[in-house]
């Protein structure tokens, strides 16, 4: 019979091959779903996975949407490597939008015009602080009250969305906005500078790449990053070495909160340019998938961020071109993660055929 047995050492090949295999299997399931609802599977797959890469504008949109995914996932990678399960990046992202949006609205309505570099920096820092504070609530409750960080961070997502709603339906509503639940448009000096002419792609993407390099250095070239990962892999060994689990908890959560907040700031100061109730379309949750598909490694995360963004844009195209429900993209995302986790089994284990005992007896 077939039996799973532990490998002597993790398979290097499977570590890299598993996400690719998962992607192929997800595409196969996507084709099956398309066929089941009466679409041409090949044409559908083309719209979902290839079309978003045809043409300069499309590619710039893919990179634009990949930006927040990469930035959030970089923070989550540090968190997960420390074995701290922050799954509320969505909430920290929203509070980042609130922080950055609040600052931008205040500067705009007060008529304060800063030089663009300064204005944008101030807004982004406000966003980081917003996300950082929201994650600090999780860290505090875990540290002081031993409250499960998974549940607390997730609950705070719902609270964060209501904070956004309360603000845009209340004090932040644009007085000249025909009673629409949205804030004023931010002053032009607070918009993120574009990175590519005649597209919406902004410098945030470059910032994301720099951050990927910095997180790589932090994880693999700093003592602090080392301590954090030992704590995640072998808590007892970390304790014996005198590495503080509390400090790993705080570092992981504050860093991931700040990065999610920064991503929020870049979204409001980038493509959105105002605060509305519809700031996030589950980017904080998609980033979790990005993080796993990218093997919790900054370079992998950049690639996975582009891939998941591609699927999101592909989903939008499939909605407008083929009339598919817009949830198609989130079905595929969830599937990708499930299939990936199954494939990952074979990093540490392998299948072996053993003759059944009955046959030999």
């Amino acid at each position: 019979m077939l039996k799973l047995e532990a490998r002597a050492a993790p398979s290097q090949l499977m570590t890299v091959a598993s996400p690719l295999l998962a992607l192929v299997l997800t595409a196969v399931v996507a084709a099956l779903i398309l066929a089941a609802i009466g679409q041409d599977p090949l044409a559908g797959l083309r719209v979902l996975f290839v079309e978003p890469l045809t043409g300069r504008r499309q590619v710039s949109e893919v990179l634009l949407k990949a930006t927040p995914l990469i930035v959030i996932a970089l923070g989550l990678a540090v968190c997960y490597r420390a074995n701290v399960w922050n799954i509320g990046a969505e909430g920290q992202f929203l509070l980042g939008c609130v922080g950055a949006g609040g600052m931008a609205i205040w500067l705009t309505t007060q008529g304060i015009v800063l030089p663009r570099a300064l204005g944008v920096t101030v807004v982004l820092i406000a966003g980081m602080l917003g996300g950082l504070l929201w994650a600090a609530v999780v860290a505090l409750l875990r540290d002081r009250f031993n409250a499960n960080e998974i549940l607390v961070s997730l609950m705070l997502v719902y609270v964060a969305q209501q904070i956004v709603n309360a603000l845009v339906f209340g004090p932040w509503k644009d007085p000249q906005g025909f009673n629409m639940p949205q804030s004023v448009m931010f002053h032009a000096s607070l918009h993120l500078p574009p990175m590519l002419e005649r597209t919406r792609l902004h410098v945030g993407f470059a910032i994301a790449l720099v951050l990927a390099a910095l997180v790589t250095l932090f994880l693999f070239r700093s003592f602090r990053g080392f301590q954090l990962q030992v704590g995640g892999l072998a808590p007892a060994a970390a304790r014996y070495a005198g590495f503080s689990a509390r400090s790993a908890l705080w570092t992981g959560l504050l860093l991931s909160g700040a990065l999610a907040g920064l991503a929020g700031g870049m979204e409001v100061a980038g493509p959105i340019k105002q605060v509305t109730p519809y700031l996030s379309t589950g980017l904080g949750f998609t980033a979790i998938i990005v993080c796993f598909v990218g093997r919790l490694h900054p370079l992998g995360i950049v690639a996975a961020g582009v891939l998941l963004s591609l699927m999101l844009i592909g989903g939008e195209l499939a909605q407008s071109r083929l009339g598919l429900p817009n949830a198609m993209a989130s079905v595929l995302q969830g599937l990708l993660l499930l299939i990936l986790l199954a494939c990952d089994t074979f990093i540490h284990q392998r299948l072996r055929w053993t003759p059944s005992r009955k046959a030999s007896a």
Binding site: L4, E5, A6, W85, I87, L141, F145, N146, A147, N148, I150, L151, V152, L154, M155, L156, Y158, V159, Q162, I163, N165, A166, F169, G170, F285, I288, I289, F292, P325, A327, M328, A329, S330, V331, L332, Q333, G334, L335, L337, L338, L341, A342, D344, T345, Q349
Partner: protein
């Protein structure tokens, strides 16, 4: 109907969803498996139950379809974590994300349709009693079902051999394995039972409370149910009590909104989530107490013969 009686009535009704889900999660957590996919299972079950009830016109079939959908998703989760030893946190999360997307995907055709309001079943004689009658004895059958289930599950856990075995596996699977019990099959059964009950919980929203389907209908109740199992320190009766308590908070919040209290409705909507966080923090404060009550192998994979 007396106001307090009405409040109790609606608190029980709205707590029933949480009770069903929390009781289900208790079963698989007692066997040592943590399923963070509760929200996803509830969503898919809610849409499955709604579709079944809409096409057949039968609530019973709706609930059955929902339980089957919940159990099917749970089986996928179970196969991954129990037989392939995948990370329980990540897999549960993946199930929740998938469930959210999948329910929205298949539910598109169901949006905007609604079932007629459900009828309540008044228990004869008892429901005529003043105060307690309207508060406790005129409800949808599923409300009584959740109460009965609590008793059944408590009896199963503490008064049957199989319940003892289930709890033993949750504490430490090795001895049970050594005695020849099929640990992984038992865990899979527990996970499926949990999924079926989460399915009933999802259908209770889409068939009774709402009764309609919209994307993200469950609004985090699966996650609140997960918090409830901690609050209940993994005991069925406390889970039921906690569910009614949270049902009460939700109802209170809605009542305050309806009465036009001078607080933003958005802030009131936060109330159940904040209550969950506060309660979770208070109950978890004593780490030793939680460790003592938590199934010792919760979340840990079991690899026989390794």
């Amino acid at each position: 109907m007396n106001e307090t009686a009405l409040l109790i009535n609606t608190a029980l009704a709205s707590g029933t969803t949480l009770a069903l889900a929390a009781l289900g999660l208790l079963i698989n957590e007692r066997a040592g498996v943590l399923n963070l996919g509760a929200e996803g299972m509830m969503l898919v079950a809610a849409v499955a139950g709604f579709a079944a009830a809409l096409t057949t016109g039968s609530d019973t079939l709706g609930f059955l379809a929902a339980a089957a959908a919940g159990a099917a998703l749970a089986a996928v989760f179970g196969l991954l974590v129990i037989f392939l030893n995948t990370n329980q946190y990540a897999t549960g999360l993946a199930l929740s994300l998938f469930g959210y997307g999948f329910s929205a995907f298949v539910g598109v055709a169901m949006v905007g349709k609604s079932l007629s309001p459900r009828e309540q079943v008044a228990i004869p004689v008892l429901s005529d009693l003043p105060f307690v009658g309207p508060a406790l004895f005129s409800h949808h059958p599923m409300v009584y079902g959740a109460m009965a289930l609590t008793v059944v599950i408590a009896w199963f856990f503490y008064r049957t051999r199989s319940g003892l075995l289930l709890r033993a596996i949750g504490e430490n699977p090795e001895p049970a394995h050594a005695l020849g019990y099929p640990v992984r099959a038992i865990r899979l059964a527990a996970v499926c039972a949990g999924g079926a009950l989460c399915g009933l919980a999802g259908a209770y929203i889409s068939l009774v409370t709402a009764p309609l389907w919209v994307e993200g209908l469950t609004a985090g109740r699966g996650w609140i149910a997960l918090a409830l199992t901690v609050f209940a320190t993994w005991r069925p009766a406390r889970a039921l009590l906690g569910a009614y308590l949270f049902g009460g908070v939700t109802v209170l919040q809605l009542n305050l909104q309806a009465q036009g209290v001078a607080v933003s409705s958005h802030l009131l909507t936060m109330l159940p989530y904040i209550a969950t966080i506060v309660v979770l923090a208070l109950i978890s404060r004593n780490a030793a107490f939680i460790r003592l009550n938590m199934p010792a192998s919760l979340g840990k994979p079991f690899r026989p013969g390794s």
